[in-house]
């Protein structure tokens, strides 16, 4: 019987426990960062346990680290303590750790793929919901809680019930100016932030196939924002091409052999899913969120919702609360919303193609004087290096943007990069929750090109009409 990719990976990793109980899913790669791991290491210590397979675990620090001069010690003692805890725990338990001075350092979901740790057919977990990013390679990747982090450390398995599967098919060709970010924001705006609950989603269709690996990562990254347990894209030649020559591929296996094995995980022709949702790429506009959950978004040519047009009471209340928090009136044209901050970066849009797209828009322009801050934060040191080799940093700096060291930065504002109450930010990150980027801050999620264009104009603008220099 033809199988989809989820069933294949599940079958290759599920170890039966007892009849009627959750299976133990064997975990091939475990990523760790400083925020969600200290209590897990502590739990191991208290129970006299070790990591079952320390060599399958990789740690990086990303959430707390400064994006300014790293030769200066971290100013916040609590951040320093958490970063130190990770380094000490990794040393004690024999885990490789990329500290903030290591050339491999960066956001965990950027580092994994760029070093080739992330491979098709694998099971991957991390105490971080955006672990779904790795699904772009056809790896089954889950975000987990800290108790589960400890469980994976001690047993190399995760208890799981099989999920239902949903195919999200994006047909047709993407119009010029529309990016992976717009696809995924449009999907979430349609299915809602709980639309994928209980499901693993596989993204299929011509528009998904045509995306680069980095674009595919952007789509899978935000799967969790649609409530799904994981997002997957079947591996193909593009996947192999991306991984070719990466540092951490298995040694001693000819690449062709690896590639064949990887591609064997792709969904079979004629396989089935529990649910299908279809989109037409040509219908997707550049997206901007107007509210306080990633599903509250719309196209650049649209307006914020009109309350009287919402039929269901709870939805109307919810919309009203969101508009109030965002300081927006109902029925406001999206392209009239003015911003005073901009953030390009995060595990959603902090890779080289994102920065390249941002630079193409920025070239020859200047940041609008209404902007209080506009920062560009590469996803990793490797991304930073590559961007500088291409001269992108110069374009940004000349245009008045700040060029930073890598890290999570203003995606969640655990370091000094944060919004002040009332600030309005065009952000390429993945969450526009109340206070996510700083208490009282207002976040609008957009693609890198749309963020840069907003910083230059001082308000959102349709990138399809941009004059490139």
């Amino acid at each position: 019987m033809p199988k989809n990719i989820y069933q294949k990976i599940w079958d290759a990793h599920a170890i039966e426990t007892e009849p009627g109980q959750a299976a133990m899913l064997y975990i091939d790669r475990h990523f760790v960062h400083e925020v969600t791991s200290p209590q897990a290491f502590e739990g191991l210590r208290l129970n006299g346990r070790k990591l079952r397979r320390p060599e399958l675990t990789t740690a990086t620090m990303d959430h707390n680290i400064p994006t300014t001069d790293r030769s200066i010690p971290i100013q916040d003692p609590l951040s320093q303590k958490q970063v130190d805890a990770l380094e000490n725990n990794c040393a004690e338990f024999g885990v490789e750790c990329f500290n903030m001075h290591n050339p491999n350092n960066g956001i965990v979901h950027v580092v994994g793929p760029e070093l080739g740790f992330t491979q098709p057919g694998m099971t991957i977990v991390c105490g971080d919901s955006h672990t779904s990013t790795h699904g772009a390679f056809g790896a089954l990747a889950h975000g987990i809680g800290t108790s589960e982090v400890e469980h994976v450390m001690a047993t190399q398995t995760l208890l799981q019930e099989p999920s239902k599967t949903m195919e999200v098919r994006v047909n047709g060709k993407l119009p010029v100016g529309i990016t992976a970010k717009d696809i995924v924001l449009a999907i979430i705006a349609r299915i809602g932030t709980a639309g994928g609950t209980g499901y693993v989603i596989e993204f299929t269709g011509e528009a998904i196939r045509n995306l680069s690996m980095e674009g595919r990562m952007t789509v899978c990254n935000m799967t969790i924002e649609g409530g799904a347990r994981a997002g997957l894209i079947s591996p193909d030649d593009k996947t192999c091409e991306y991984l070719k020559g990466r540092e951490r591929l298995p040694e001693g296996v000819p690449f062709e052999e690896l590639c064949e094995k990887w591609k064997s995980f792709a969904s079979d022709e004629g396989c089935s899913y529990d649910t299908l949702i279809e989109f037409q790429a040509e219908d997707i506009e550049p997206q901007v969120t107007w509210g306080t959950s990633p599903g509250m978004g719309t196209g650049i040519s649209e307006k914020t919702p009109v309350l009287a047009e919402i039929a269901v009471d709870t939805d109307r209340d919810n919309t009203q609360k969101a508009l109030e928090y965002m300081g927006l009136n109902e029925g406001t044209p999206i392209d009239e919303i003015a911003v005073n901050k901009m953030f390009v970066g995060s595990c959603t849009n902090g890779r080289i193609e994102d920065l390249q797209a941002a630079a193409t828009v920025a070239k020859g322009y200047t940041v609008n004087e209404c902007m209080d801050q506009a920062i560009i934060v590469p996803g990793s040191y490797k991304v930073k290096e590559e961007a500088e080799a291409k001269g992108l940093d110069k374009i940004f700096i000349e245009a008045g943007f700040e060029w930073r060291e890598p890290g999570c930065s203003m995606c969640l504002a655990m370091n000094d990069d944060k919004l002040n109450p009332g600030d309005r930010c065009a952000s390429t990150s993945n969450r526009n929750f109340e206070g996510r980027q700083g208490k009282g801050g207002r976040t609008h999620l957009v693609s890198p090109a749309m963020a840069i264009a907003a910083a230059i104009k001082g308000h959102f603008t349709d990138i399809r009409e941009w004059k490139f220099n």
Partner: protein
Amino acid sequence: MDTFTTLTGIVAPLDRMNVDTDQIIPKQFLKRIERTGYEDGLFFDWRFHNDGTVNEEFELNKARYEGTSILLSRDNFGCGSSREHAPWALDNYGFRCLIAPTFADIFYNNCFNNSILPIKLDEDTVDGLFKECFATEGYELTIDLPTQTITKPDGGTIAFDIDPFLKERLLNGWDQIGLTLRHEEKITAYENAQA
């Protein structure tokens, strides 16, 4: 791990959909390396104004909900970040049971790893509970896990569903790692077959 069998407690209503874990415990409280001490950060941005003063309008700040141990909320509770600091903060504050129409996946799992019982009830039932809770000062519910029932102040009962294995775990306070390690030879056999 603590066990969970029965609980009688005051119900606090949080009448919002999509309560996300950033809201339950904002990032500035994620820097601790312990599992305790998160109670002051719970719903921080709602409990306090930007200038640091107490937001008297927020339900949890009202005297009538003091000592609450049951939280009532709407759809998709616990969405967003996987941070287990969210159930820790709820637990540290005193919540042992959560009631909502739906919960986000990761959060739901995290609750069971912290002996918190998340109960899913259909939307109409939840709506009814909200109405009664708002109307009655000191509104209490009794949760009985062995019989899977909720008893209301008027004596009426509501049945709820729960996975039998998760129920056993809560009743016995079983540590999941210990349970899994009973199957260690199966894990070893799997590893050997891959090598």
